[in-house]
């Protein structure tokens, strides 16, 4: 038995991690069979209850970003999807339409290159690439650096095109008003339940590449039901960027969200 925790669970071979019956996982730097490991436990230990978010610093900056956006009546949307889901083409079309009515800025997150930002140039919006290098997501400090500099207080809508990844960006609050998840028809219908964190958090969900449906064994009804398992509230937009279909209802939703912020 482990004298540290009282458990009788043996650690997995080559690993000090083990799980207790109450669901707790922990590691020891000693074996469970070790009979004399009390030297690692000091009688002078102090215990401090904290209940502090691991990402508290990011969350605090994100909250400051959110306040700045609200003070300046800017709608900030955080677009998240897997790589290749059609975010950039959708934005190319969306920016051309949105920029007729609003001052739009775009921050594009990618690990490397400015390829996506280059594609979004000359579509009526201000565009800036952020390279995250080894990181798989944007975080709140990335956005904070741009407030009042690249992102002017005169901006109406800021769209953040996050790094293509369904997992990591969901864990980091940027200060956005809403996370927007994209799901392309070529990914199949079951991505939402495979990546539930994003699809349950999203305040809008955009189905992309709808023009490819005739060529795929893909069911709109099944995709919708998979989304609704996790998220009963988010509006679902069916779009084809290449055919410029379904964008009007998405733009209407953006206008409504902006109007709501302006009334606050």
């Amino acid at each position: 038995m482990c004298k540290d925790c009282g458990c009788s669970v043996k650690a997995e071979q080559n690993s000090s991690w083990h799980q207790h019956e109450d669901g707790t996982w922990h590691s020891h730097d000693h074996d469970h069979d070790h009979t004399n490991h009390h030297s690692v436990h000091s009688a002078k230990k102090v215990v401090i209850d904290t209940t502090l978010a691991v990402l508290a610093k990011n969350d605090e900056i994100a909250q400051n970003n959110r306040v700045w956006f609200l003070d300046n009546k800017i709608l900030c949307l955080n677009f998240i999807s897997s790589p290749g889901s059609g975010k950039t083409l959708l934005l190319e079309k969306l920016l051309q339409l949105l920029s007729k009515k609003f001052r739009v800025a775009v921050l594009v997150g990618d690990q490397a290159t400015s390829l996506d930002a280059d594609r979004l140039q000359n579509k009526g919006a201000l565009v800036k690439q952020i390279n995250t290098h080894s990181s798989c997501h944007l975080d709140a400090p990335h956005i904070q650096k741009e407030l009042g500099t690249f992102i002017s207080p005169e901006t109406d809508v800021l769209i953040i095109e996050n790094v293509g990844n369904l997992v990591c960006p969901s864990a980091f609050d940027l200060g956005e008003a809403a996370k927007v998840a994209l799901l392309s028809t070529t990914e199949g219908e079951d991505k939402p339940v495979k990546y539930p964190v994003l699809f349950s958090q999203a305040q809008a969900i955009i189905l992309t590449k709808m023009d490819l449906v005739p060529h795929l064994q893909w069911s709109l009804q099944k995709a919708k039901s998979q989304v609704r398992r996790l998220n009963s509230m988010a509006p679902l937009f069916e779009t084809s960027a290449i055919k410029e279909e379904g964008l009007d209802s998405l733009i209407l939703w953006i206008e409504q969200r902006l109007e709501a912020i302006r009334l606050l």
Binding site: K45, V47, V54
Partner: protein, 116 residues
């Protein structure tokens, strides 16, 4: 895999706490990981195994508790665990539910040794 980044954030918080509480060392950290916090526990363990032994925190032990995703039904009020990634109320069948737990990644408790 953002768990290495999360681990760095955790160590940053621990450094602050070490100073704040005037500790010579922190020996144990107890974290809770919500099912919907976007943290993969096995990746977090891998990040710990990869990074901690050769760091200034070589003697830090991490204890992880998994917290299930829980919702409250807005129609009948029942609080329940979400099973099979389905937010439908198991009692009345309503989909009108709100999340009440399981979205946070928290440092719940630390143990350390004070300066003598």
């Amino acid at each position: 895999m953002h768990e290495l980044s999360l681990l760095e954030n955790m160590l940053d918080q621990l450094s602050d706490m070490k100073q704040k509480y005037n500790l010579s060392s922190i020996t144990d950290v107890y974290v809770s990981v919500g099912e919907m916090a976007g943290v993969d526990i096995s990746f977090l363990e891998s990040a710990y195994n990869l990074f901690i032994p050769s760091s200034d925190w070589a003697h830090l032990k991490m204890h992880i508790t998994s917290v299930p995703w829980r919702i409250r039904c807005m129609a009948c009020g029942l609080e329940q665990k979400v099973d099979d990634w389905h937010i439908q109320c198991r009692s009345c069948g309503s989909n009108d539910t709100e999340t009440i737990d399981g979205t946070d990644f928290l440092i719940q408790k630390i143990e350390g040794e004070p300066h003598v």
